[in-house]
Symmetry: C2
Subunit: 724 residues, 2 copies
């Protein structure tokens, strides 16, 4: 019987529906798309404390839709039982007829039927898990927050016209007993590498920056117990100034293990207690995002290898339910910080759900009442993030479902332009750009116009992908106009650069790196302008230097984009290597080589204000993957891509770059390049002093000593050449 | 010491602040204005069940802001202790400095200080109760959902520019242990007036329509128990077709009293059980809104007195946390239904908080994604409700705080006009008007344009009251243009009336009562048009008759506005008297005198679909107060008002009309009028065949046998005259 079935299957005579009817399909929890993200980010961001006081975000928090309708049509081969799991109170209907009460199980008859559930839930996201044999919940279900049942313009029972449906949101909540509201990151017990103990204290060193819940073993007695957390030893030792702490009133007649309620970032933990409190031991539960290490990098320079490894560890720690800024202090979802995490992620974990989850959390709901995180630039990075997300993942559904939220955010931006059509900081807007002394935010800052221009290009791209030609034309024209305006208003021929701003309708004298470096990798400059900007800005020490890894990211990217990998390699070793020399076990929010001692931990006027594990400190991941290994998508989801290895002075390097479907592996030395891609069609591009040879395919010369080789999916190529 | 204090107080040398420092001020729970209303209406409207299945609303439900900042400046005379009660997790700061943890009590030092709290709460509305001696929470606190702390356009610590604050929402939650989330209507135990009992059943008659929770006394045993509720005996007896029911699986080894979870509407209750289930007795907990009976009406006609009393009982039952449609079925907040309840309420309970609460629940939050309740006319009634609310209560704060929500709803409407600037039903819009057979909703219906026009007038009025001259001019011009358009497009000189609609750009032949009767009391017609409409529409039996009390409300109002109190009195006695003759103990959703038997209970194709206690059935309250007793405000909050008694054929009548500050009492017979007002300045206006005399003030003749007398606050007047 089985044999015949597979025989029919092989002949294509049995559809996959029938085939899959053999075993029950896998159901998953579904919800209104974007709502789990909003709800979970509220929860996460409200875990911040500042020396024991609750410190929530400073902007609007949105809510999930509390009343949601879910439905899907099914062709049911034979009567089946459906198990229902629901977060909230609900009704369930087959073909519009409701069951009494809140059934946990219903019978679905054979034939074509519509199954629908309507759920109300205020404290959690309304969510549904239906498990039958062929009838299951998944992202193919439709959902709405406004069903307008039986109502149309004539007042008659309607076809639900005017109701907009989206595909259900789903992640990997495949266990009916673990609904979205119970989602937690996993933990693992970890012991300190060094413990100093007295009768009334513990001082622990976990060996490196880490994150999790402190656990007190054998806690007993009456008294106060204080935990001072430190990313540095100095911080943990400073009861007065450490950024995070716990203060507990203990009253335990019998020995008990106790785990702190909130997870914290630390390397050192200082536990102090009084009264007759006793503690046997202190350890921690390491809390982490379960990511796959997909990208890799290794080379002939050991310091660079260490920079890469610490970068990846930094990004891993700062990747939680969402991409957050840093693990000690804010632990908020900041759009500008997250944007860089997305890019680093594409070259390391390639965890797309964390990208889309973060973007949805940042965007929240309509109406838009302020910029994302209240920061103008952070709104624009949100658009840029979508541009990249589509390019790297090819996820069309996201662009389709959330295009309306892109539109309303762009409407908000466009409505705030001044009489010259430029973005200027209005009341309540934070023009951030970077942490830099004396950086002017006055008037119309060129950097913000650049970001708006790129955001408009993103809108045009997404409109086009959604087959919305009208919007594509509209946004395309707005972008083109703005680009022209940027060059006419900000380009200064004497300075060979874009100036920083316009005040009272006049160009200022000030040249900063920001808009100039973005102009390079946005490809907004002519070749001549690029060279001008490189010499007069990027490599000009008279232009105010960048001290945050945040903007170093873009500065080094701009230099890489101009082929300065050798220079950048040295910069990386100086800057990130500098942090390593100070004992960093993760990369920092800010690093100023001129500072020393405990001084290096100060920021925001507080002795330990600086975050020592900050996502934006991990940019070497991105730079090494995109500009040394040299892999990047040329069309959505890596259907085409390029590989342009650049050793930047290294003897050899090898690495893997993840894609939505498998990896692209590259090895490159001065004499040999090996590549293999699991996906799409690649173009290997390299310079050679002699005529190169390949074991597969045909190397083409494209002039000036540059050669290309087409890389077919699944085939390994070895090229012998003469590089530098 | 005390004496001296009062002496200083009498001299005005001690301010009230110091005076009130003698006793602690009364604190009250505060929250973001409108948020308790949204949250509580979600909760209430999600109590609907349809034969045991959960039946939620068919439109978007909004949520409260989950993160809210509260603050206020205080001049504190001496150090005082503050007790804090908070719904949610929170921080508390004095002058920006946070306390550690979640203190229940803090010390407020003397001097000028800012007290602030920031609260996160997802499942309930963030709310705060602070009780000190002089420092207390009340509606003078400011709140925001978006504090933008320390951020301004220059990135520096800011004065919170760009953040919009409102005055806190507050009601009468003056008990720290009864936060808003615990709000419940009070209940009282009530016994049935008649009980038929068998071993396996109870059949109870509570004597009249009522509402509450059925209570089973001495419940014991194992088996099923069914409760069938009936507004009529027939309904309770129909296990198959009753609209509401409870189905319980009983497993009680010992005797226990059990109260149903959800309150229901009924006069009759049919309890059936099987197995070895035993029940000693069945009673109910009557659940009611604690309203004050402020308005009254009594007259020489006993049937009319009964109609008034039953109307008031009907309105009372349908007034719950909000004004709902009817108590049996939907129990939802429907804007068109609520609008009539507001008006009736002004002449009975004058419970302004229930009006504003209902309007806020209906409006919900931005963005506007559909008409209120999905019904176009219901959006417009919301605006009309504000117009009346301001006129009757004089509450400027409401208009100030919620003007932005008025604007965005109006923007939504205006954006949906067609090329001729008229409202037409688009996909998802329900053009309701009335339940009437064959009523056309096609094309541009004149009735909807009339309502939009009045809504624009409301916008202009509110803009003016908010000193927003620009908006006042804009909305005023839009209203004037539309009024002109209405008459040019819909007025038909042959038919002497407004026609029902335009289809494909052409006037239809159809004349209905709706826009014509609204035109009268909106005062949109010339005197000649009014007379034309009265003869050709209102008193014309060839024009489709109105069968719902809902539209009878406006029909009879229009006739009253034209002085047809005699005719309307007869209509009231026929129509509402007709329901009384059928045994009504509350007034119905619909009444058709041609139907009889159990047939009268059918509606929506269901044998007991009709609601027998429907707010819109209670309109005589409004008609008798406004058009017989004849009292109405002429300016906001009754600062000026008119009294125009009209006996309509009665021998005498007397009544009280409530105002924000006391009542206006009127007695009127054919020979004597007595009035006394606790508020403002009134104008008594009446006709007399002879020259009237007054014991106070001076009666002025205004021609045509009509006289006026100015009524000063607090003075009683008796006028002797010769009326009809």
């Amino acid at each position: 019987m089985k044999k015949i079935f597979y025989f029919l299957l092989a002949l294509g005579l049995v559809g996959t529906d029938l085939a899959s009817a053999q075993a029950p399909k896998q159901a998953t929890w579904i919800y209104y798309p974007g709502d789990f993200e909003v709800w979970a980010s509220n929860r996460m961001q409200n875990r911040r404390t500042d020396r024991g006081a609750f410190l929530p975000v400073l902007w609007k928090m949105d809510s999930h839709y509390v009343l949601v309708e879910f439905h899907r049509d099914f062709d049911v081969p034979a009567t089946e039982e459906l198990k229902l799991h629901v977060e909230g109170i609900y009704n369930v209907k087959i073909d519009g007829k409701a069951f009494v009460g809140y059934p946990k199980s219903i019978t679905m008859p054979a034939g074509h039927h519509t199954l629908s559930l309507k759920v109300y839930c205020q404290d959690r996201v309304p969510a549904v898990f239906v498990q039958g044999k062929t009838v299951v919940t998944d992202a193919s279900w439709l959902v709405t927050f406004e069903d307008k049942e039986w109502i149309d313009a004539t007042g008659k029972v309607s076809d639900k016209s005017g109701t907009s449906y989206l595909n259900a949101g789903a992640w990997n909540f495949n266990n009916p007993l673990s609904p979205p509201s119970k989602y937690k990151l996993p933990t693992e017990p970890v012991k300190a590498v060094k413990t100093d103990k007295t009768a009334k204290s513990f001082f622990l060193d976990f060996g490196k920056e880490t994150f999790g819940f402190v656990k007190l073993h054998g806690l007993k007695g009456k008294g106060m117990l204080h935990i001072y957390y430190g990313e540095s030893k100095e911080e943990a030792m400073s009861a007065e100034h450490c950024e995070t702490l716990d203060e507990l009133t203990i009253n335990e007649p019998a020995k008990k293990d106790s785990v702190m309620e909130l997870s914290k970032a630390f390397r050192y933990v200082n536990v102090q207690f009084d009264g007759d409190v006793k503690v046997d031991d202190v350890s921690m539960l390491f809390e982490y995002a379960p990511l796959n290490e997909r990208g890799s990098f290794k080379c002939s320079d050991n310091e660079l290898n260490k920079i890469y490894d610490i970068s990846k560890y930094t990004l891993h720690l700062a990747t939680r339910e969402f991409f957050i800024d840093g693990i000690k202090r804010d632990r908020w979802v900041w759009s500008g910080d997250a944007y860089q995490s997305y890019l680093m992620n594409y070259y390391s974990f390639f965890d797309s759900p964390t990208v889309s989850r973060t973007m949805l959390a940042l965007r929240g709901k309509d109406p838009v009442t302020s910029h994302i995180n209240t920061i103008m630039d952070y709104t624009f990075y949100w658009f840029l993030g979508i541009y990249d997300y589509y390019q790297y993942t090819g996820d069309k559904t996201f662009i389709k479902q959330f295009y309306p939220r892109m539109q309303s955010l762009m409407d908000y931006c466009l409505s705030r332009r001044d009489k010259d059509g430029l973005m200027v900081g209005l009341a309540g807007d934070w023009v951030f750009i970077d942490w830099a002394d004396g950086l002017s935010k006055k008037g119309e800052v060129s950097f913000e116009q650049m970001l708006l221009c790129r955001s408009l290009e993103t809108m045009a791209l997404c409109a086009k992908e959604n087959n919305n030609a009208e919007d594509a034309a509209k946004y395309g024209a707005l972008a083109a106009d703005l680009k022209t305006k940027i060059f006419s208003l900000y380009w200064n021929d004497q300075k060979h650069a874009l100036v920083h701003s316009r005040v009272d309708g006049k160009q200022t004298d000030n040249v900063t790196r920001y808009s100039n470096m973005f102009g390079i990798f946005f490809n907004y400059f002519t070749e001549q302008q690029k060279q001008d900007v490189k010499q007069n800005v990027l490599l000009n020490d008279n232009i105010q230097k960048i001290t945050t890894p945040y903007m170093r990211f873009y500065e080094l990217e701009a230099l890489c984009a101009m082929g300065e990998q050798g220079y950048v390699l040295k910069q990386m070793k100086d800057y990130w290597g500098g942090m390593l020399k100070l004992g960093a076990t993760s990369f920092w929010e800010e690093y100023n080589p001129t500072k020393s001692g405990a001084d290096v931990y100060a920021m925001y006027g507080r002795p330990f204000g600086k975050s020592l594990c900050h996502a934006w400190g991990a940019s070497p991941i991105y730079l090494l993957g995109k500009y040394y290994i040299g892999v990047k998508p040329l069309s959505a989801g890596y259907s085409t891509y390029s590989i342009e290895p650049n050793l930047g002075g290294l003897q050899w390097m090898q690495g893997s770059v993840p894609t939505p479907n498998g990896n692209i592996d590259v090895y490159c030395s001065t004499t040999q390049i090996k590549v293999k891609g699991d996906v799409g069609t690649g173009t290997l591009r390299f310079s050679s002093k002699t005529t190169p040879k390949a074991d597969n395919g045909t190397v083409k010369s494209v002039g000036n000593g540059v050669y290309e080789l087409e890389i077919a999916k699944g085939t390994a190529y070895t090229v012998t050449y003469s590089g530098k």
